[in-house]
Structure formats: structure tokens, C-alpha cells
């Protein structure tokens, strides 16, 4: 079956072509929806079949590569051997990612049929979603960096198109400088911030090619295994790659785009900005684990950035009032955990958390979509409350997701987060400090997730009954919720330490890295159990505190907000990062372009040079002045200046 792997990628592409080319003529939403979801469903089935088959074969036979066609080959007459193929590599890691992408993707497609009903852009929406799945599968299944980069850019493009899907809607960026902006601009911001990340990826890729002479994973990684730890070029490569990862996975300092990306339709937030695309950076680091293992400095950077992001985003999540914003910061924070796992060489734990996070965060986003749907596009949780009697199914599933996110014992999020924290504490690359940051963030996580649940579903109804009659969503929307809720609850069982198989399943992928790190299995089972208890207690405490405050004594929250006014303002404004970027980067470049370089350099300086500079320039200029009036002479002066530069350069070489 593995030879059919390219079909995995082909189905969504066909779905995209169908919906994209014929969609606008077909008025039948049912057909469009079925084609859109069906193509992803087929891919999921195929991925499952391949997965089952892989279970049945030897561990060494599980990794295979299928080439479709040679994509780029060298030019004639060139001595370098640059070539890349459209080829897919099926191994333990990539099939797991493919299962997550197609599985969660399928559920979200089905959900979208209900969510997007009646939207004039229905066909466009499904076309983009299918295109996204196509790009994402290319990203995770690629067997070389170039194809991965294609997927990487492709998902970015789809993300951009989908964030700006309702381009004419106003949307609030939040914070004090809150002004309404159009969703189209949010899309643009996402795109540009991502381009900064792409710069890192591209530089990393160029260096990889120069160092290893190939872009294929196989040859790069096998050549890397014979290099020694701490080779400088590897540090550069991994740092560049990590810049790429911070862009795509919204890590500090490139996290600013993700909260704004919530301007897109909610299924998009669930699929792209929670479950799949934003985890691409984590996947990339995991894929290159051997390179990172050889660059201890990069590992440390990854761990620190991850821990800081987990912490800062969680604190911002404590004070936000927009239901999707809370979830967005939560996503940033959870991604931080995954990078923390990568940084402390707990690769399997990171991927495990990636999987459970995909389940419960998709669930939470879809649930919030159902709430927003029921509330007629209201997103402010301060204007909700008491919704559990109107939305019983949404409420129950949402609570399941929130429990998993908070790390309630024995649910999926508990196991994965606990394993990361345990490794952060005990691993050779970990430290108690990293653990402390992570554990504190975990307490905040539990608190904000139940602040969200309580304000939304419990307590007094704070909305206007005359205008709003909340109602449960249609079946296409709640069935995916239920399935995801089940997965959120039991999904953790595949990764219980010492009991289940996920860790060993992924072992072959990460073994080369682990050998380099000389990592030993930690015995100390008792200590690990103690840590589990601590994690569970932290989660329970956070949940209890949130319930207590927001259910019984809502005034406490306000008291704290006014007592720690400065801190509150800092969090409410998201540490003023956006404002900082505006002041430091965006405005200067735009202004600089306008005044300094164009009006300044191209017009004024050159004109000025006519009067002020050396006599030689003036003489030539005055000769020119007789020939031609106007700006042409100043251009000529520029040319003379350039020539002087060139000649000086050569004479002084």
C-alpha cells in the first residue's frame, strides 16, 4: 500500500481543483461539502490502511520513500548536482502527522458544512481548505527540504487566504491601541511575519545544501551522524531553521500574528491555527532532531524560547475576554510546551503533545465556533454566561476539551504535558528552572481554561434575551465535537509512560539524535510518579481556583485587576509587543522608504549634491545643466557619483 502514498496528497488536490474550478457554478452546497470533506476522508482512510500495514511489518521496513517525479535537476553544463524530487517519505513520524492532519482535518471539514451554510463563498472556502490539506500533507510527507518548503509556503498562503476570507469584516486587534481593522490586514500581517520565519528556513536550507550537497533527508541526516557535536555550521543551520519554526509556530518573538489570525472563520482557526499548520515548526524540529542534537546551543535556545513562550502566552490568556483570543494565546502557550520538549530532547513527548493538543484544541475551537454561532457572532465572554442549558452538547464537549487542556488527571493533555515537564526536570538538557516555568504556566493554563468555561457556560446570563435565543448547532457540527471529545479524553492512553507504545513507535526516528545526546533511559519510576501527582495537583488547583473565583466571587477578579493595575495593563496589552514592532520596525521602514530613501536619497540628496559636493561633480553637473534642465541632470550626477565609487573601489581595491 505504501506505493499508493502519493494518492494521500492527490485526493485533496483533486478536491481543490473540483471546488476551485467548478465550485462557483455549482449552487449545491451538499455536493461541494461532500467533495471537500470526502477527499480528505479518503486520504484519512488511506493513511489508516498504511498505518495498520506498517504495524504489521518489521521496524526496519517501516520507512519507505516513494518518488513521483524528478522536480528540479541540474542545468546542463553545471558541475553541482542540485536536484530534488517530488517524493514522499513514509515513516513512523510522517504517517502519524498525516493521520492527525487528515483525521482532524476531515472532522473540521464536516463541521464546516454546517458552520459555513449559506455563505456566498462556500465553494471558495472548501477549495482553500482542500488546498491547505494538500500543502500540509506535502509538508509532513516530503522526503526532502525543498518539497517541505513548498508545503511550508503553501500552508502559509492558504492561511493568508483563509484569515482574510471575510475580507470586508471589521475586526478588533485588542489592547489599548484597539482600533478596528479589516481581516484582510490581519491576513497580511500573518503572511509578512511568516515571511520572516521563511527567511530563516530558506537560509537554513541553503546552508544545508552547501554543507551536505543535498536536500534529501536521507543523505543529509546520514551525513550528519558522522559529524561531531558542536560543529559551528550545524549551530547556524539549526538556528536558522528554528527562526523558521518560530515564525510558523508563533513563538516569541514572532508570535504576534497568531492572535490576529483569529479574524478568520472559526473552523480555520481550529484546523490551521491550532491543530495542524502551527505545529509545522515543531514537526520540522523533530524531523531535524539529529541536526539539533549536534548543536547543543540551539537546543538550549529552543528550550528557553519554548518555556518563555509557554509562560508569557499563558499569562496573557488570563485576562483576555474574546473567546477565540483566549484560545489563541492558549495555542501559542501549548506550542511553547512542544518546543520546550524539543529543546530538552524529549522529542517523542513533544510529538505526543502535538497530537493530543490537536484533539483538544480543535475541539475547543469548534466548540467556541458553536457558541459564536449560537450567539450570533458575539465573541466577548463577558457578554455570555449560563449557556449550558441552551447548548448542552457543546457544553459537555467543551468541558472535556478544557479539562484535557488544563491537564486534568488521566485525560490526554495530562499525560503529554506531564511527560514534557518530567523530561524538562530530569533530562540532561533540562533544568529545574525550566520545569518551574513550565509548571507555573501549567497552573495558569488550568486557571484560564476554566475561567473561559465558567464565564461562558455557567453563572448568570449576561446577554440580551430579547434579541438572542441561543440554540444548539446542527448535527454536522456537533458530531465532530463529540468525536473529538472522545479523543481528547482517551487520546492520552496511547502515550502513558512505560505502558503504551507511542514512544517506542517513534523511537527509530529519534534514535540517531538520542545516540548523539547519549541519552539514557531514566529509571526512577517512583520519582516520575511523584511528578505526575504534582502535575495533577497543579491542574486541579488551577481549575478549582477558577471555579471559585468566577462562580462564587466574581468581584475578586476585579479587585485583583485594580490592585495590580500595571501588571494587568501589561497583560491586557499583550506585553506591548505589537506596539514595539510598530515603533521599531514597521513605521521606520515605511517612513524611511517614503522620506529617506525615495524623497530623501533619490530626490533631495542628489539634488543637494549638485550644490554642495566636490568641484569635480559640480563641473560635470554644470555642463549637463546646459544640455538639460530638470531632474535628468541630477540623475546624471548620481551616475557620476556611482562611477567615482566604482573607480575608487578599483584603484584602492
Amino acid at each position: 500500500m505504501i506505493t499508493f502514498a502519493p494518492l494521500l496528497v492527490l485526493f485533496p488536490l483533486l478536491g481543490f481543483l473540483f471546488n476551485g474550478v467548478f465550485g462557483w457554478k455549482i449552487k449545491n452546497e451538499k455536493l461541494l461539502g461532500i467533495v471537500g470533506s470526502g477527499s480528505v476522508g479518503l486520504s484519512f482512510i488511506l493513511a489508516s490502511v498504511i498505518f495498520v500495514q506498517m504495524l504489521g511489518v518489521e521496524e526496519s521496513a517501516r520507512k519507505q520513500s516513494v518518488e513521483v517525479f524528478t522536480w528540479v535537476s541540474t542545468f546542463t553544463g553545471s558541475s553541482s548536482s542540485f536536484s530534488a524530487s517530488v517524493a514522499y517519505q513514509i515513516d513512523q513520524l510522517s504517517i502519524l502527522m498525516a493521520l492527525i492532519v487528515t483525521g482532524v482535518g476531515f472532522l473540521i471539514h464536516v463541521y464546516s458544512i454546517g458552520y459555513m451554510r449559506g455563505d456566498p463563498g462556500f465553494w471558495r472556502f472548501f477549495a482553500y481548505l482542500n488546498l491547505f490539506i494538500f500543502a500540509m500533507l506535502n509538508l509532513v510527507l516530503a522526503d526532502n527540504f525543498l518539497l517541505m518548503f513548498l508545503g511550508w509556503e503553501g500552508v502559509g498562503l492558504c492561511s493568508y487566504l483563509l484569515i482574510g476570507f471575510w475580507y470586508d469584516r471589521k475586526f478588533d486587534i485588542g489592547g489599548e491601541e484597539a482600533g478596528s481593522t479589516y481581516t484582510g490586514h490581519a491576513g497580511m500581517k500573518a503572511f509578512i511575519v511568516n515571511r520572516i520565519g521563511d527567511f530563516g528556513f530558506l537560509m537554513g536550507m541553503l546552508l544545508i545544501f552547501v554543507t551536505f550537497g543535498s536536500l534529501r533527508y536521507d543523505s543529509v541526516f546520514s551525513n550528519a551522524t558522522i559529524m561531531s557535536v558542536g560543529t559551528p555550521v550545524l549551530t547556524w543551520i539549526t538556528l536558522f531553521l528554528f527562526v523558521g519554526a518560530t515564525g510558523k509556530s508563533a513563538q516569541i518573538p514572532l508570535h504576534v500574528w497568531l492572535p490576529d489570525a483569529m479574524a478568520g472563520p472559526t473552523p480555520v482557526s481550529a484546523l490551521i491555527h491550532a491543530a495542524t499548520m502551527v505545529t509545522a515548526g515543531v514537526y520540522m524540529v523533530a524531523r531535524c532532531s539529529i541536526l539539533f542534537a549536534l548543536a547543543p546551543t540551539s537546543m538550549l535556545v529552543v528550550a528557553i524560547i519554548g518555556a518563555l513562550t509557554a509562560f508569557c502566552a499563558a499569562t496573557i490568556g488570563l485576562v483576555q475576554n474574546d473567546i477565540k483570543k483566549v484560545l489563541a494565546y492558549s495555542t501559542v502557550s501549548q506550542l511553547g510546551y512542544m518546543f520546550l520538549a524539543m529543546g530538552v530532547a524529549a522529542f517523542s513527548a513533544g510529538i505526543f503533545h502535538l497530537m493530543t493538543h490537536a484533539f483538544f484544541k480543535a475541539l475547543l475551537f469548534l466548540g467556541s465556533g458553536a457558541v459564536i454561532h449560537a450567539m450570533h457572532e458575539e465573541q466577548d465572554i463577558q457578554k455570555m454566561g449560563g449557556l449550558k442549558k441552551y447548548l448542552p452538547i457543546t457544553h459537555k464537549t467543551f468541558v472535556a476539551g478544557a479539562l484535557a487542556l488544563a491537564g486534568f488527571p488521566l485525560l490526554s493533555g495530562f499525560f503529554s504535558k506531564d511527560e514534557i515537564l518530567w523530561n524538562a526536570f530530569i533530562g540532561e538538557h533540562g533544568s529545574p528552572l525550566l520545569w518551574l516555568i513550565g509548571a507555573t504556566a501549567a497552573a495558569f493554563t488550568a486557571f484560564y481554561s476554566f475561567r473561559l468555561v465558567t464565564l461562558t457556560f455557567d453563572g448568570k446570563e449576561r446577554f440580551d434575551h430579547h434579541h438572542l435565543h441561543p440554540h444548539e448547532a446542527p448535527a454536522t457540527m456537533y458530531v465532530p465535537l463529540v468525536i473529538l471529545a472522545v479523543l481528547s479524553v482517551v487520546g492520552g492512553l496511547v502515550g502513558i509512560p512505560h505502558v503504551s507504545q507511542l514512544e517506542h513507535w517513534l523511537d527509530p526516528v529519534f534514535d540517531p539524535a538520542k545516540i548523539k545526546l547519549m541519552q539514557t533511559e531514566h529509571e526512577g519510576f517512583g520519582l516520575e510518579l511523584l511528578f505526575m501527582v504534582v502535575s495533577g495537583t497543579i491542574a486541579l488547583a488551577g481549575i478549582w481556583a477558577a471555579r471559585k473565583v468566577y462562580l462564587e466571587r466574581p468581584e475578586v477578579a476585579e479587585q485583583y485587576a485594580s490592585r495590580f493595575k500595571k501588571l494587568y495593563r501589561l497583560l491586557w496589552n499583550k506585553y506591548f509587543v505589537d506596539e514595539g514592532y510598530n515603533a521599531v520596525a514597521v513605521r521606520p521602514i515605511v517612513k524611511g522608504s517614503d522620506f529617506l530613501l525615495w524623497k530623501g536619497f533619490d530626490v533631495a540628496v542628489i539634488d543637494g549634491a549638485l550644490d554642495g559636493s566636490a568641484a569635480f561633480v559640480n563641473k560635470i553637473a554644470s555642463v549637463l545643466r546646459k544640455i538639460q534642465t530638470g531632474v535628468a541632470q541630477s540623475y546624471a550626477t548620481a551616475i557620476v557619483g556611482g562611477i567615482l565609487f566604482v573607480l575608487t573601489w578599483i584603484v584602492l581595491r
Binding site: 518548503f149 509556503e153 515605511v590 525615495w598 535628468a632 540623475y635 546624471a636 578599483i650 584603484v651 584602492l652
Partner: protein, 514 residues
């Protein structure tokens, strides 16, 4: 030296263009006022010439006593010129009709310019380069001023002519210096002399001091560049047979000559700081002519550039490489940053073309085979996406030169989804998003730069192309995400649509399957 029949056969694409040009002139004088015939004949001439060039890709030969070098290199460029030429002709028809300027002269000029370009690409002698540049430039000066009743067009032509003539003077002086030091204008001869000439000592100290003070140079350049610019071999005394002092002088004159030749070509490709003319000229010229200038003329100048860098100098000169790298970096930075503040789409594309000249120059600066191949690929890719963009601009342009502002494109996606999608495609490709052609072009030249130990140049390139995403994307955002009244005046010419389709196809084709 002697004339042989094979000389004509080897240069079949060139002679086809010459013949077509003459036929169109004769036709025009015979039955004046039938531009449709000229249109068809010119188009056929370009296509035939292009096909002949495809056929000639495999042969490698010199002709006309070593003045021309024919083979895969010259024919590759000939294909690019014929493609851009024929696309320009296709685009121009409905545009010229709309402005009431549908005359045969346009086609004659395009044909003659293309001849000059083919000459430049097949040149094996500096004199031929000069001849080609002049033939091309004079035709382009007239093309820029083709709308003689329009002030804008006249201004454009005059500026282009004055500055072009100015730059040509330096080019010619540079050629003279090279001839004076190397004793020949032939590439092959100079190529043999170049290593010896460039290995000698710099000028005596007194002369150096008479130049600009050190501080000027140091302030202008990052240290790494200055240090990297001095490979040991350059510093060591030459081992040529000439007496040391004489060799030193000849070597310096040679390099100065090269510097001036580079200045002349840098002007033609609109690289900073010789770029100033481009925005004004591009803005004022009729849009199809602008497209032709921005693509074919630039490709031709790069054709000559690559010939001089690789066939004449060889890839040994650190000084020249670093000089080119600095010009490349300056072009990328200036072009991309200034493009952000442009509100007129033609000016935006002009600055963008300056930036792209910078990318291509990085490939030449890298001075390795990857660089050469990368530049050739880039030239073709760039020609397709830029010409496509200008084709769409030409559709939307109106009589009063209105609708050139980017904001005027608001709502285009609703009115003309296909045109908007095509323009979006070109913009994405220009921004370098895979898998489109623009991405691979950049990838190859940056790869070449990294291989040549010019990582800093690649970083500048990648960072500035990051900036460029902003202004390219703004066009897409305006088209798709803003309400507006963008509209096409009158009927969209069939030939223009064909041209756009060809460009779009090539942009995808070159990217997906290069």
C-alpha cells in the same frame, strides 16, 4: 577572416529578425496604413526566429571571424528575446488601438531592438557588445517616445536618451581602456590575458593617495567586504613577462576599463546607483514598450554582462566580484525599500525591476557556474512574470493615464476574476513564493552566492525579498480584499489575453518543472 555561408546559418535567428525588419519596412512603405499586416509579419518573424534558436541550441561555433559566438548560450537568450518580443507585440495591439496609435513603426522598432539584443548575447567581442547596445538603445529611445503627442512619453524618451547616451560614453571609454591594456577587444584574447593583468601590483602609493581619502572607502563598506576583496593572488606581484611597473599600470588600466564597462551595463540593467532613469522612463513610456524594456532589454544587458564576466574575465577576479556584490546589494536594498512607498503601479514595478537586477547581479558576483546558470534561469523567469504584469497593467490603463495607481485596482477580483488571478500569480512569483518561477530564480542565485562564500549577500537578498513581499502582496490585497470600481475600458484584446496566458503558463511551468 573571411565570410562563410555557415556564418549565416549559425546566426539564423539574427538574420531572420533582420529580414523580418526589412520586410516590414518595405511593406509599410508599399502600402502604408496597414499595421495589421506588419503585426502578423513581425509576430511570424519572431516565432520563426525563436524556433530557429531552439534548433540551434546544440551547436557551438564561432562566426564572422570570431566576432560572434553561437551556441546554447546565445540561442538561449535569443529564445528569451523572441519570446518577449512576440509577447510584446501581442500585448501592444489592443493597447495601441485604444490609444489611436496603432502604427507599423512600433513593430519595426521592436524588431530592430531585438536584433541588437541578439547581437549582445552572441557577442564575442566588445565592439559587438557596443554595436548591439546601441542598436537596441536607439530603438528603445524611440519606443519610449512613441506617443509623440503625450508629454509624458516625450519626457520619458528624452530622459532615457540623454542619460543613456551619457552612460554609453563611459561604456565606450571603458572599452577603449580595456583595448589599450589588453591589446584586443576579442573576448577569447582578453580571457587569456586577464589573469596576468589582474595579478599585478596596484598603482604606486602616490597615485593611490591622490585618490579619495581612505576614510571615504572605509566608511562606505562593511569590513568583511573589504577584507574579502583581497585574495592573496591579487596582492602578489604579477608573473607576466612585462616589467613590473609597466604591468602594474596596464593592470590598473585594465581594471579601470572593466569598471567603466560595468558602469555602462549596470546602467542598462538599472542597477543602483545607476537606476535613477528607470522609474521615470518606465512610467512615461507606453506600457507594452515599458514591459519590453523591463524584460527584454534587461535580459539583453544581462546576456552581455554574463558574457563579459565569464567569457572575457573568467571567474578569478575578487575585486570585480566584490564590486558587483556591492552594486547588487545596493540595488536590492534601494529597489525593494523604495518600491514600498510607490503608489503608481508602473513605478512600483520599475523599482521592483531594479531590485530584481540586484538579485541577478548576485549570481554574476558569485562568479561560479551556479551563478551563471542561475542568472540565465532568472532572466527567463523574470521576463515571464514581469511581462505578464505589464500586460495586465496595459489592459487597465486608460486614456488619461489614470488607473495606474495601485488603489485603482480595488475590487478587480470581483469584476474580472481571471485577470485578477493572473496578476496575483505574477505578484506571488515576483515575491518569490514557491513553486513559482520567481522562487527558483532567487533560490539559484542565492545558492550561488552562498557557495561563493558571499553569505552576507545571500542574507541581504533574502531579507530584502522579504520586504518585497509587502508591496507585491499589497496589490493582491487591494484586488481581493477591497471594494472598488476597477474596470477594464472597452473590450480586452484577444492577443493580450493570449500573451497573459502564455506568461502565466510559463511562470507555473518554470516553477513546477524547471
Amino acid at each position: 577572416m573571411g565570410f562563410q555561408i555557415s556564418d549565416i546559418a549559425n546566426n539564423a535567428p539574427l538574420f531572420t529578425l533582420v529580414a523580418t525588419g526589412l520586410v516590414v519596412i518595405l511593406l509599410e512603405s508599399a502600402k502604408s496604413g496597414k499595421p495589421n499586416v506588419s503585426f502578423i509579419v513581425s509576430l511570424a518573424g519572431f516565432i520563426l526566429s525563436g524556433l530557429l534558436a531552439v534548433g540551434g541550441l546544440k551547436t557551438e561555433d564561432v562566426s564572422f571571424g570570431g566576432m560572434l559566438m553561437n551556441g546554447s548560450y546565445s540561442n538561449f537568450f535569443a529564445i528569451v528575446f523572441c519570446l518577449t518580443g512576440s509577447l510584446t507585440i501581442l500585448i501592444s495591439k489592443s493597447y495601441l488601438e485604444r490609444f489611436g496609435q496603432f502604427r507599423s513603426e512600433f513593430y519595426i522598432l521592436v524588431l530592430f531592438a531585438a536584433m541588437g539584443m541578439v547581437l549582445m548575447a552572441s557577442a564575442n567581442d566588445l565592439i559587438i557588445i557596443f554595436l548591439g547596445i546601441e542598436l537596441m538603445s536607439v530603438s528603445l529611445y524611440v519606443l519610449a517616445g512613441f506617443f509623440r503627442t503625450q508629454d509624458r512619453s516625450n519626457e520619458s524618451a528624452l530622459k532615457y536618451f540623454l542619460l543613456g547616451a551619457f552612460a554609453t560614453g563611459f561604456l565606450l571609454y571603458g572599452i577603449a581602456l580595456v583595448y589599450g591594456s589588453a591589446g584586443s577587444t576579442n573576448f577569447s584574447v582578453i580571457h587569456n590575458q586577464a589573469p596576468a593583468l589582474m595579478k599585478n601590483q596596484p598603482l604606486p602609493d602616490s597615485v593611490v593617495q591622490a585618490g579619495l581619502p581612505d576614510s571615504v572607502v572605509q566608511a562606505g563598506l562593511p569590513d568583511s567586504v573589504v577584507q574579502a576583496g583581497l585574495p592573496d593572488s591579487v596582492v602578489q606581484a604579477g608573473d607576466s613577462g612585462l616589467p613590473a611597473g609597466q604591468a602594474g599600470l596596464a593592470g590598473t588600466i585594465f581594471l579601470l576599463g572593466l569598471g567603466l564597462v560595468i558602469v555602462g551595463l549596470a546602467f542598462k540593467v538599472a542597477a543602483a546607483p545607476f537606476h535613477m532613469w528607470a522609474p521615470d522612463v518606465y512610467d512615461g513610456a507606453p506600457t507594452p514598450a515599458t514591459g519590453f524594456m523591463a524584460t527584454a532589454a534587461k535580459a539583453a544587458a544581462f546576456g552581455a554582462f554574463v558574457s563579459i564576466a565569464f567569457k572575457m574575465i573568467g571567474s578569478t577576479s575578487g575585486t570585480i566580484s566584490n564590486l558587483l556584490a556591492v552594486i547588487a546589494a545596493a540595488s536590492m536594498i534601494l529597489g525593494n525599500v523604495i518600491a514600498i512607498s510607490q503608489s503608481n503601479i508602473k513605478r512600483m514595478l520599475a523599482y521592483s525591476s531594479i531590485a530584481h537586477a540586484g538579485y541577478m547581479l548576485s549570481g554574476i558576483a558569485a562568479a561560479n557556474v551556479e551563478g551563471q546558470a542561475g542568472v540565465m534561469y532568472y532572466v527567463a523567469a523574470y521576463a515571464c512574470m514581469t511581462l505578464g504584469a505589464f500586460a495586465i497593467v496595459s489592459i487597465l490603463e486608460r486614456d488619461d493615464a489614470a488607473n495606474l495607481s495601485i488603489d485603482g485596482y480595488a475590487g478587480l477580483s470581483a469584476k474580472h476574476p481571471v485577470i485578477a488571478a493572473a496578476l496575483a500569480l505574477f505578484m506571488f512569483s515576483l515575491a518569490g513564493i514557491p513553486p513559482l518561477a520567481g522562487f527558483f530564480g532567487k533560490y539559484y542565485v542565492f545558492l550561488a552566492a552562498v557557495k561563493a562564500d558571499m553569505t552576507w549577500l545571500a542574507i541581504v537578498g533574502v531579507l530584502t525579498s522579504l520586504i518585497s513581499a509587502y508591496y507585491y502582496l499589497r496589490v493582491v490585497v487591494v484586488m481581493y480584499f477591497k471594494e472598488g470600481e476597477a474596470a477594464v475600458e472597452g473590450r480586452i484584446g484577444m492577443s493580450t489575453v493570449v500573451a497573459i496566458a502564455v506568461c502565466a503558463y510559463l511562470v507555473v511551468q518554470l516553477g513546477v518543472y524547471p
